[in-house]
Symmetry: none
Subunit: 144 residues, 2 copies
DNA sequence: CAGTATCCCTGCCGATACTG
DNA sequence: CAGTATCGGCAGGGATACTG
């Protein structure tokens, strides 16, 4: 179902509930598309997923691999991913403890759609950048 | 206020910063993929895009169509989309003024990848939900 | 090692009032 | 109608210290 410039397929359906129709103002949390979109838009989630798609990692490995992430955010991100079944967490009861995070099949499956989006971004990067340049050049007060 | 005395209207730091100031401590700022991901993850952006894919809309039409959005957020969202060349803004110098927003070809092209992601979300919605249910049932943080 | 708990500050967003 | 200016709350997230 390609969309081009005609009708809006699936996406429309799912978001229509949240967007247009007589829905309660606060509770559009149930839309699975919105749900995934929010997760994907999260700064750290995708970076963690990408790292885990490469192979299983331990907590501190991820902490080093994902540049700039804090313990707090890494924990939170991993918990969310685990909860959604995208990542599997395994604790080895050693001393000191070792914990391994591994992408699940479901999680790996998400990489496909993400790649499509990434490909689009790369393919149209020049268009976007030139659009920005044009926009910024349009009317801008002299900068100090 | 803190931008100096030059009158840069609404456009928050994102617009101002991208235009001229070199005040950007983050190193991974200009990754196009991250860029698109952030936009897509934005609560309002996708809703506005979806509405505009259906057809051109005026400001107030969008305000009504995208449930819960404020004038401020709609303006900000539209400016960002316009700047990236995803949406075209046309002002008709009538009284009172009429402004039409129309999706561009570039913007409509984004709907494809979005659709792929949406399809994935719908397809695996059950998996995610059951994973959540299992996770939530696993170990309750029993706090008396 | 792998987290949790806490503090604190930024900046996002909604509500409101005002203009051309 | 189509925005802009301003304020205030409140939650997201970084830094740090502590624990099993």
């Amino acid at each position: 179902m390609s969309l081009g410039h005609t009708a809006v397929p699936l996406l429309d359906r799912q978001l229509a509930a949240a967007a247009g129709s007589a829905d309660r103002p606060v509770s559009h949390a149930q839309c699975p598309v919105r749900d995934v979109l929010e997760r994907v838009g999260d700064k750290w989630t995708v970076l963690v997923v990408v790292e885990l798609v490469r192979g299983p990692r331990r907590f501190t490995e991820l902490l080093r691999a994902v540049d700039g992430i804090s313990r707090r955010m890494l924990t939170r991100t991993l918990r969310l991913l685990e909860r959604d079944g995208l990542v599997e967490r395994t604790v080895f009861p050693t001393v000191p403890p070792a914990v391994e995070y591994r992408i699940t099949e479901l999680g790996a499956g998400l990489a496909g759609p993400l790649d499509v989006l990434a490909a689009w971004a790369v393919e149209h990067r020049a268009d976007i950048e030139s659009a920005r340049a044009a926009y910024d050049a349009r009317d801008r007060p002299a900068r100090p």
